[in-house]
Amino acid sequence: MENFTPLSALIGGSFIGLGALLLMAALGKIAGISGISSRAIFEREGRSWRLAFVAGLLIGPVAVGLLLSDFSFSTPEFTLRTVVAGLLVGLGTAWGSGCTSGHGVCGIGRFSTRSILATLVFMAVGVFVASLF
């Protein structure tokens, strides 16, 4: 457990909650990153605010990198595994109407039965797959 980073986890998690809350308080929208990003690409209606949200997503880590001198993170190799995983994440979040943000934070946060179930399923499968492979 020497990699455990409780303080940054709690601070980062609070920022995630705050950002999602801002979208609900001001615009009345659920902050589901898979839904917003896919609709920004594939739907004309409501594209501008969704693109603005995605722009914010893209720029956030750049700002963190400028403020924190020791900020760095690993990225995956370009492999068949990475591409297959991306395809599965795309299919699964579209069919399952959400991902970690939409179901895991916003959905559970308003005690939605669908989101609690979905989160239990993707967590359980994620743990199973990551532990086996």
């Binding site: 940054s8 980062g12 998690g13 299919l91 699964g92 579209a94 797959v129 990551a130």
Partner: protein, 137 residues
């Protein structure tokens, strides 16, 4: 004003993803993989995000409408169905394989990694295919 708020919301969320290190797929896999050197950090990220959101949501819902919009847009579906469960399982499969869910993958694009870009392009292809062939209820 709508655009600025939407930008700020996305910005705050990806700052959180970056600060909590969930932007690093190795960190996410270290949480999901119970057989290795287990890292419980992601549980605290979720707990903090949920605490902030669930309390805030209760307060917000006491108002009749959002500050800048006519109504709260909440999902119409309330009962679990087959697409939800099958979709969540397929998402979990991909998440466990790569350690990326959509938010961290998109947030990490600025690092300029070809692996991240490949993941995101494949994810967009997945969105396209799932929209083209919706699962029957």
């Amino acid at each position: 004003m709508h655009l600025l708020i939407a930008f700020l919301a996305g910005f705050l969320m990806s700052v959180g993803i970056a600060v909590s290190k969930m932007i690093d797929p190795a960190k996410v896999v270290a949480f999901l993989d119970l057989t290795g050197n287990w890292d419980p950090s992601l549980a605290l990220v979720m707990a903090a995000a949920l605490a902030v959101y669930s309390i805030g949501f209760r307060l917000i819902r006491q108002k009749a409408a959002p500050i800048l919009a006519e109504k709260f847009e909440l999902p119409l579906l309330t009962k679990p169905d087959k697409p939800l469960l099958i979709g969540a399982a397929i998402f979990g499969l991909g998440w466990g394989l790569a350690g990326y869910c959509p938010g961290p993958a998109i947030s990490a694009l600025s690092a300029g990694s070809i692996g991240t870009l490949g993941f995101v392009i494949a994810m967009i292809a997945g969105w396209y295919l799932a929209r083209k062939w919706p699962l029957p209820h």
